[in-house]
């Protein structure tokens, strides 16, 4: 249609070309046919045998997970080889019988072993089912000895996570566990396959992407019984990156030990950078337990009443008790509500609004100035000052010190605690008559009781701001992340740490800080049990606190539950480096129960700076403990606050 050329011409043009094409195509197809004849007919039998013996299997190799180290490079979490007894159903004539025999040989419950044959993550006949995971060498030996009765049974080595110090810093390190079905549905976990181990808690979860590494792909040659003859890799597995924490292993160990046998929390921060030096929550758990199936009884224990999985440093919000007075003192001085020398008389109670607000010392402290008020933790002084400040100004200062907000550590869900104010009460309560703020409530809040609550992390942060010249630090746990090839992927230089000024005059902070040194060093001080042993030339400052517990248990049992004990300390007093906050649940008074915990942690932290090594070498390793017992130090009745 494009031209008037004749059909004849076009057709003869085409005919010549088509002829050539046809010849070429016949040649090409002939080659294909000859090759197929060769492969399928002449060599067919050879290839059939090859396919029958085709034991080349594609397997995925779990990458070694990155290590977790403390600030000095001490390895906290690594990997170790774990031996699994596995069964390839395809290689066994009757897999169930073989599995049963394995169970009998190794004295394992037959039902459990048989149940593992139905592994949802490994469905194909040539994929091995893990019958027994991470077994002892003894069991391996028993299986190996009877391998000829166990066709299809193989012993496989896989990297297993090894938390070297058992429950050491469990809440920081976290644990890994098989990726859950719900996780696999979310796009975040797109690259995971069922059965992969994933960080589920703590640093393991937070740094999952960097710790994980890349899985390798290999083809494995196995013989007819399923034994590995060799393997070759398509793709090397890539180790995960190593995470170096800010934790100081020695300090952490002391914190863990101090909380042994109780419920509570200890956190130690670098006052300038906010680096977390120790973070301990008790009761703890052993992350090693999570690698395998957890028995229902053990799971009940982990989720039971003592809640070992709760990170009390971040998730436990307690009334701060008298520790809160340091903030009220700073607020009162800043606002010019009270002078350092003004004295307030404490007869043991303050009549207010038709009732008596009692001081913890029934006989009264007499005339008390600001310094005395903190050293002796006089309640009447703070009722008076708090009333003058009024709740909204207290709220303002508490917020400046980081209360009522999360710390930004990002390790787990964090409780914000409560810093009450008129606006808060208006929001919080529904009934109109409950929305009104009563002046008496201000008095309770001023001594850290009532509605005000804070986490140990918040109190440590507040203390750091008080003693570092007025900067709110952002606590963090990771110093750097290094890939296996040595490339630094994340570097958190403590010099460049995030700090926000709280807007309180440094002179004011110094006055309060000096008083807090007195809390520990003064003979009348409530916190003298935080003093380090004579081996240390390090002075400690701090504040005790006791938070009243009015729990359901109290009403139910008809007995008074012990109060929570607080101590938040810093050291060295003249040039603070470290703050340590300790909370012991239901342990009684802060000065008696919590201050010694802080002392233990500080002594570990300052161990290098001990001035007087003990006379004998034998006791040099542990010179602090034996003689200077807290009981011997004080008989004073004022050991309360």
């Amino acid at each position: 249609m494009s031209s008037g050329e004749s059909y004849q011409r076009l057709s003869s043009f085409a005919a010549r070309r088509v002829q050539v094409i046809a010849i070429l195509l016949v040649i090409a197809f002939s080659i294909l046919v000859v090759r197929l004849w060769y492969l399928q007919v002449l060599q067919g039998e050879r290839y059939r045998i090859k396919s029958e013996n085709n034991r080349l299997r594609t397997v995925y190799i779990a990458p070694p997970r990155g290590k977790i180290l403390d600030r000095h490079g001490e390895v906290l979490v690594t990997n170790r080889p774990a031996f699994n007894v596995e069964l390839v159903p395809e290689d066994s004539k009757s897999p169930k019988e073989t599995a049963r025999l394995v169970a009998e040989i190794t004295d394992q419950p037959v039902e459990e072993v048989l149940a593992r044959m139905n592994d949802v993550t490994r469905r194909r006949r040539f994929e091995p089912r893990v019958l027994l995971s991470d077994v002892s060498r003894d069991i391996i030996a028993r299986v190996a000895a009877r391998r000829f009765e166990l066709p299809g049974v193989v012993i496989n080595v896989e990297p297993a996570r090894d938390y070297l110090n058992r429950d050491f810093a469990a809440h920081v390190l976290g644990y890994i566990r098989q990726v859950s079905a719900e996780q696999l549905k979310s796009p975040e976990f797109a690259r995971y396959r069922p059965g992969d181990m994933v960080g589920q808690f703590g640093i393991e979860a937070r740094y999952e992407n960097l710790l994980q590494g890349e899985r390798g792909v290999a083809s494995v040659i196995v013989d007819a019984a399923g034994n590995r003859l060799g393997e070759s890799k398509f793709q090397e597995e890539q180790s995960g990156s190593d995470v170096t924490l800010t934790l100081d292993a020695r300090t952490q160990r002391a914190a863990d030990k101090a909380l042994e046998g109780r419920a509570g929390a200890i956190v130690a921060l670098d006052v300038h950078s906010g680096e977390v030096l120790a973070l301990s929550s008790a009761p703890r758990f052993d992350p090693n337990d999570f690698a395998h199936d957890i028995s229902p009884t053990r799971w009940a224990k982990l989720t039971g009443e003592t809640r070992p999985l709760t990170n009390r440093v971040l998730q436990g919000a307690y009334p701060p008790g008298s520790v809160f007075k340091m903030i009220v003192a700073a607020a009162a001085l800043s606002e010019g509500i009270i002078g350092t020398e003004e004295r307030i008389n404490c007869p043991g109670f303050l009549p207010f609004g038709g009732r008596n607000f009692g001081c913890h010392k029934k006989s009264g402290h007499g005339l008390v100035n600001l310094n005395d008020s903190l050293i002796q933790s006089c309640d009447v002084y703070y009722y008076t000052v708090g009333n003058r400040l009024d709740i909204d100004r207290i709220h303002d200062y508490a917020t400046r010190f980081g209360l009522g907000m999360t710390s930004g550590l990002g390790l787990s869900e964090e409780s914000k605690g409560v810093v009450p104010s008129r606006a808060w009460k208006e929001r919080y309560f529904k009934a109109p008559e409950q929305k009104r703020w009563f002046p008496g409530e201000t008095l309770s809040v001023a001594i850290g009781q009532g509605a005000v609550t804070a986490t140990p992390m918040q109190m440590a942060r507040a203390m750091a701001a008080l003693v570092n010249g007025g900067f709110l630090v952002r606590p963090h746990l990771v110093r750097k992340v290094t890939s296996r090839s040595g490339v630094v992927l994340e570097d958190h230089d403590p010099e460049k740490a995030v700090r926000e000024p709280i807007g309180v005059d440094a002179k004011v902070l110094k006055i309060v800080m000096d008083a807090l040194i007195g809390v520990v060093s003064d003979q009348r001080g409530t916190g003298h049990r935080a003093r380090l042993s004579k081996d240390f030339d390090v002075m400690v400052g701090g504040k005790t606190g006791t938070s009243q517990v009015v729990s359901a248990e109290f009403f139910r049992a008809g007995t008074k539950t012990d109060d929570h004990a607080w101590f938040v300390g810093f050291a060295p007093a003249e040039k603070p480096e470290i703050v340590v906050a300790a909370l012991a649940e239901h342990a009684g008074h802060g000065g008696a129960a919590a201050a010694p915990l802080v002392r233990e942690v500080m002594e570990a932290y300052f161990a290098d700076r001990r001035i007087a090594p003990s006379p004998t070498d034998g006791s040099a390793k542990n010179p602090v403990k034996p003689n200077v017992t807290p009981q011997s130090v004080n008989e004073e009745p004022e050991d309360v606050d």
């Binding site: 090409a28 290839y47 090859k50």
Partner: protein, 379 residues
């Protein structure tokens, strides 16, 4: 458009039958290749639970493909002529889009997501665009002498090389080569001066070392593997080794339907797409492969027949392009699977799993059928 009795008489019923039979064979193979023993049945056909998603999807695509085939067959040549360049242009734009924002699957950007789990592969559509584009070009630009001179070659060569480069950049060497084969077939059909061909051949040989370095390492490995597959049977040679074992182990009569161990035990990757021929060879043996080779032979024979009967240059070049498409893709794919050519990702037309390819190939057959119908309608 008139459908009169002459048109019906001229209609290539054999080609239409082949367009039905080959996909049917493909679906039968796919039912086995895509079989997932542990998955839930997707639908139940005549009491048979279908446990292959590929099978269900592909069945739908071939139904759609038949609709496309008839629509294209009925398009008047005038419409085709005026739509040739715009379609070519749209295809090129889609290729640009996929290079910029396409889905990355297995390391290459080849797809545009259409939602509902369907992805468009523009490099497949480009085959149609190229056939029509080149046919349109040659309809107006006949060589002055008997064959194309160098200056006359520039136009068609550009039409071919530009989309080829875009596809190669994805990177999808297989589709780029397939497109090159189709284009080269059409250009050579028109004819090129022998001198130019010899020069190009020399240049090609001289540039090989440079081109070699431009290839991705995995592509280099594939070529080396072809030269010496035993060199690393479990590394880069894995695919081809497994593929040859699958084909060979089928022997004369095959292992039986759904009983191919290479496939069902998943030794053979990609067995629903580029390596579907292996499944056929393993389960149906030499008889099976010969049947398919004969079906392709018949298909190409009918297409060449249509070339001979075309009444104008445009129609003839369309038929040439369609014949080139099926010849090039079938020969390269089978050659690759049986270890005669390097492993490049080219699907087996009408047999491999792939929606875009199914629709494109059915439409291409529609173009050829259209030529067969219209050859005496217009005088």
């Amino acid at each position: 458009m008139l459908i009169d009795r002459r048109a019906l008489r001229n209609f290539d019923w054999v080609l239409l039958s082949l367009a039905g039979i080959i996909p049917l064979v493909g679906l039968i193979v796919l039912f086995s290749a895509g079989y997932e023993p542990d998955s839930k049945p997707i639908v139940s056909l005549f009491g048979i639970a279908v446990q292959s998603q590929a099978f269900v999807k592909q069945s739908l695509f071939f139904l759609l493909g038949f609709v496309a085939l008839f629509v294209v067959t009925l398009l008047p040549p005038k419409v085709l002529l005026s739509f040739a360049y715009p379609l070519y242009g749209v295809c090129v734009v889609l290729l640009l889009v996929v290079d910029v924002m396409g889905l990355t699957i297995k390391g290459s950007q080849r797809w545009i997501s259409l939602g509902f789990g369907f992805n468009l592969q523009p490099s497949e559509l480009m085959k149609l665009g190229l056939i029509l584009g080149l046919a349109r070009y040659f309809a107006r630009n006949q060589p002055k002498g008997k064959v194309l001179s160098l200056s006359e070659l520039i136009g068609p060569a550009s039409l071919l090389l530009f989309p080829m480069a875009l596809i190669a950049a994805q990177p999808d060497l297989g589709s780029a080569l397939a497109l090159g084969g189709i284009g080269a077939g059409m250009i050579l059909f028109v004819g090129v001066r022998p001198r130019i061909l010899i020069t190009l051949f020399v240049l090609f040989c001289a540039s090989l070392p440079v081109a070699w370095n431009q290839l991705h390492p995995y592509q280099q490995r594939r070529v080396l593997t072809l030269l010496n597959p035993e060199g690393d049977p479990r590394g880069s040679g894995y695919h081809i080794t497994q593929s040859i074992i699958a084909v060979g182990s089928g022997e004369l009569t095959g292992k039986g339907y759904m009983r191919g161990t290479q496939t069902q035990l998943e030794f053979l990757p990609e067995h629903t797409t580029d390596f579907v021929f292996c499944v056929l060879a393993e389960e149906w043996g030499f008889f099976g492969t010969m049947t398919v080779v004969l079906l392709y032979g018949a298909l190409i024979y009918r297409l060449l027949n249509i070339v001979l009967k075309a009444r104008d240059h445009f129609s003839m070049m369309i038929a040439v392009g369609v014949a080139a498409t099926f010849s090039v893709c079938a020969i390269i794919n089978i050659g690759m699977v049986i270890g005669l050519l390097p492993v490049v990702g080219i699907p087996l037309p009408l047999l491999s799993y792939g929606g875009s390819a199914a629709l494109t190939m059915m439409s291409a057959l529609g173009l050829a059928l259209g030529v067969s119908v219209k050859r005496r309608v217009y005088k």
